[in-house]
């Protein structure tokens, strides 16, 4: 279980994360959503101890996480938004470095590296330097690196950024699979469909503050499960309804310029962010 207690991060006068309280259950697939600059990456960076909070604490399974907490850090693996790897190492060296940092026996490192690179379709590039990999390949390598250590908690900051649609779907399947093995996953993403497809619960944050926290289904239900998109003078406007009859009634009155569809988590995000920004 991960607990964020009153977590705050300030840069001078700017508050990036503002007294954030969250509890993420063991084995949960948890999404952290918000517009650009909402504080998602800062939160992940504090959870990986790269940044230290100005106020508040993070606890993992009841023990406080800080840079000295090797036992807690052993449970964590992080995939950052940037390609945080030695650019002049080849794939095998990147994996070996990671394995050594986590004190994994070298034989195990070699075996798991082969297995993971094979699985990610990277095996034939194992001797290629990171600098010479495409963005998607670097992203896959970061995931292989993160999974090498078999973490209990996986922190993912925009893990599918720069990936094509097929690779994204492959990644979703992989993340679902590791989550089913009771790995806790914390995900930040700009792809709201990704969060809706994967996450058990999502937290919507804006300007560093928690706005909403619930399952995607509950958040959608709260807004209204039926959406009518209407093209008017102000562009596309969506209206949300709790039952189909209401939505159909509105649609009939609106004429040809409207269409009915199911509300998505993206609607919740847009409404929430739109109100606050």
């Amino acid at each position: 279980m991960i607990e964020l207690r009153d977590l705050t991060k300030k840069y001078g006068g700017f508050t990036a994360v503002d007294h954030l309280d969250l509890t993420i259950r063991t084995g949960e697939f948890f999404g952290l959503l918000g517009p650009n600059g909402a504080g998602k990456t800062t939160t992940i960076s504090m959870m990986s101890t790269v940044l230290l909070p100005t106020e508040g604490e993070i606890h993992i399974d009841g023990c406080r996480l800080d840079r000295k907490a090797s036992a807690q850090k052993r449970k964590l693996s992080v995939i950052t938004q940037e390609y945080s790897m030695r650019q002049d190492m080849n794939m095998e060296e990147v994996m070996e470095y990671q394995g050594r940092l986590y004190r994994i026996p070298r034989k195990t490192i070699r075996e798991k590296t082969s297995e993971l690179l094979e699985f990610a379709g990277l095996a034939e590039y194992r001797k290629r330097t990171v600098r010479h990999l495409s963005g998607g390949m670097k992203r896959k390598l970061m995931i292989c690196r993160a999974l090498l250590i078999e973490p209990e908690i996986l922190l993912l900051d925009e893990p599918t950024a720069g990936m094509d649609a097929l690779s994204r779907r492959q990644m979703w399947n992989l993340l679902r699979r590791v989550n089913q093995e009771n790995m806790t996953i914390v995900l930040t993403t700009h792809y709201i469909d990704e969060a809706q497809a994967l996450c058990d619960r999502v937290a919507l944050i804006n300007k560093g503050r928690l706005q909403k926290l619930d399952t995607p289904e509950s958040l959608i239900r709260e807004l209204g499960a039926f959406a009518v998109d209407e093209t008017g003078e102000d562009g596309l406007v969506s209206k949300y309804f709790h039952n189909r009859e209401e939505a159909i009634g509105y649609l009939a009155a609106a004429g040809n310029q409207a269409s009915l569809r199911a509300t998505t988590l993206e609607d919740v995000f847009v409404v929430c962010a739109g109100r606050k920004l």
Binding site: L51, S70, K73, R74, E82, S84, R86
Partner: protein
Amino acid sequence: MGIITVLWEKWVEFRRDFYKITVAAMIGPLMYLIIFGMGIQTTSHGEPYLHFLIPGIVAMATMTGSFSAIAQNMSVQRLYEKALDQIMVSPTPLWQFILGQIIGGSLRGMYAGCVILFLTFPIRTDLVFTGLSLLIMFLNGMVFSTIALVLSFLAKSYTDAPRFTSYIITPMSFLCNTFFSTDQMPSGFRDVIALLPLSQTSAMIRAIANREAPGLFGFAILAAYLAVFGIISVVFIYRKKNL
């Protein structure tokens, strides 16, 4: 264990960039040896100037080798590659990472110093280099690796590394007992220069080269720098809020 991991990483880097590292370690000192030692032929205290110059160049090569290995590498890892994030989140104790960097940087400095010793070996001098000389080179390398670590944690941009070299390494190279004896300097200035680590390293290596005993004061100065900057780097990596 973490120390071995960092040394392994340094070894991977060294193996990959062996020629670049070796040539970079040779060019500057070799130019100084050719220009000041062979081109401008002169004497110092009745001895060929090369006898004075070689120990200073060895000390200087150790300093620049160690400093550049850590300052550039860590600045790029921290600010450009963000590879330091991988270290921060790992369970490897961060003090072991720091110590690994210091030892790894020092070994690179020693390599640069040994390259100069190798190059000057054919020159017939009576200079002596012993195990104690190597120990002093190693200690000097540790001092400058530690200084480089602290500066790279303070760097705001990875282009700061060359600036640190301009501000710290270049003045020390010229002032600290490398090319000329600091005995002739005005007393106050001389005392300040004497407190700088390269001055003491040059003096100690030169003393051994001339079959004299190195002063303990030199070891004390190097140990003091190592302790102060070592503590600062450990405090930074554990306490600095935005690494």
